[in-house]
Subunit: 226 residues, 2 copies
């Protein structure tokens, strides 16, 4: 069976998990604490980062963008990109928005401060969260929730009529923030309605079952009526 | 004619310029100082960043990844991605390596400190370069030049037998560093041979003609025998 080397509270890994599940591709999860720089893992991915998808013949594929585009190419029955080139560019614009802009302004800092620091040793940057970083990220989050509300005023899903990689990428990031209880859903109805719709899909079940040792999610994390 | 809103010393913009030129697509360059947050520009790209490609009918496409994948789809005569899905994943792994890892560890910091700070006002972060950032970036650059040498031991181009988006992405980043004279070419023969090969392509001519006011490139920047 395919194996996905991953970390649970990682937007890039969650994106790949959602794409695999939407496409009904079976896979096995293998947790990889990539900061430990295990030699066998570095030989699969010299960048030393999750996600890495190992195909049934043992070939490793690295990086969320490479893996998700690959899965779209080899498993086109369930489409996560539209056919029209300009519509595909709009999906990829939004994928980039969340993977680069949202990551830099919100999710990267929040996840490092509130999750990663618990697992790292003191000499690796472990310890208590730097609250100034958390505050800036939570401030920035509001602009992005506003943008989701704006997009959802005219669209069924973020990039248009159908669920695409744009929704999956956004949900992969936001679900990590939801795990630490940081999303002010009640002030952003359009974003909340969008997230309720994607959260209730069968592909989301694996994510909602995640449970970090010593750091359980808030009660509403797995609740479809949040 | 198509218009590309760009900045000269921007790896993302240079990548799009190289792809357009490799595919023999005519375009006009429009310089956009995106930090000024011009209203008409924000309406084209709410992320407020270059590159933005405006198609002949006026439709804007935003972001280097979305634009380059789009150009590959609408203009497949000159191919910059291979046909085989796994080979495409290898190209996209390397694209991500340079656009995310190299950007974070080398080019983002160097370009901001040595180029952007000259053009920003004091209240926007302008001023003299922070030399500690420059030193760390130059230190990190050596690992990446080593990695290019390693790849070139077994391959004609970074991702295999043919020129691909991986080479174009890497060259887009490294050419910006070369503009400020920061690449220790003579210690990395494999990387130098690779760069000499891509630098001598007709698609590179536009980049080699770039000249920032008040900040001319070093003599070897445009020299094919560097």
């Amino acid at each position: 069976m395919r194996q996905l080397y991953h970390l649970p509270i990682s937007p890039a890994c969650r994106k790949v998990r959602l794409v695999l599940a939407e496409k009904n591709i079976e896979f096995e999860l293998v947790e990889e604490r990539d900061w430990e720089r295990r030699r066998e893992f570095l030989m699969m991915n010299p960048a030393g980062e999750v996600p890495v998808l190992v195909e049934e013949d043992g070939e490793p594929l690295s990086g969320a963008t490479a893996i998700t585009e690959y899965l779209e190419e080899i498993s086109p029955e369930v489409k996560l990109l539209p056919e029209d080139p300009r519509a595909r560019a709009e999906v990829r614009r939004l994928v980039d928005w969340f993977d680069r802009k949202f990551e830099a302004e919100v999710s990267g800092g929040l996840i490092f401060e509130k999750v990663m620091r618990r697992f790292l040793g003191a000499h690796e940057g472990g310890g208590a969260p730097e609250m100034s970083v958390v505050r800036v990220a939570l401030h920035n989050l509001r602009y992005h929730l506003d943008y989701i509300c704006y997009l959802m005023e005219e669209r069924n899903w973020l990039a248009g009529d159908a669920l695409t990689l744009a929704d999956i990428t956004a949900a992969a990031h936001i679900s990590c923030l939801d795990y630490v209880g940081d999303v002010p859903w009640n002030q952003y109805q359009g974003a909340k309605d969008w997230y309720a719709k994607i959260k209730s899909r069968p592909s989301f079940r694996g994510l909602l079952a995640d449970h970090l040792p010593g750091m359980p999610p808030p009660k509403l994390y797995a609740n479809l009526d949040f």
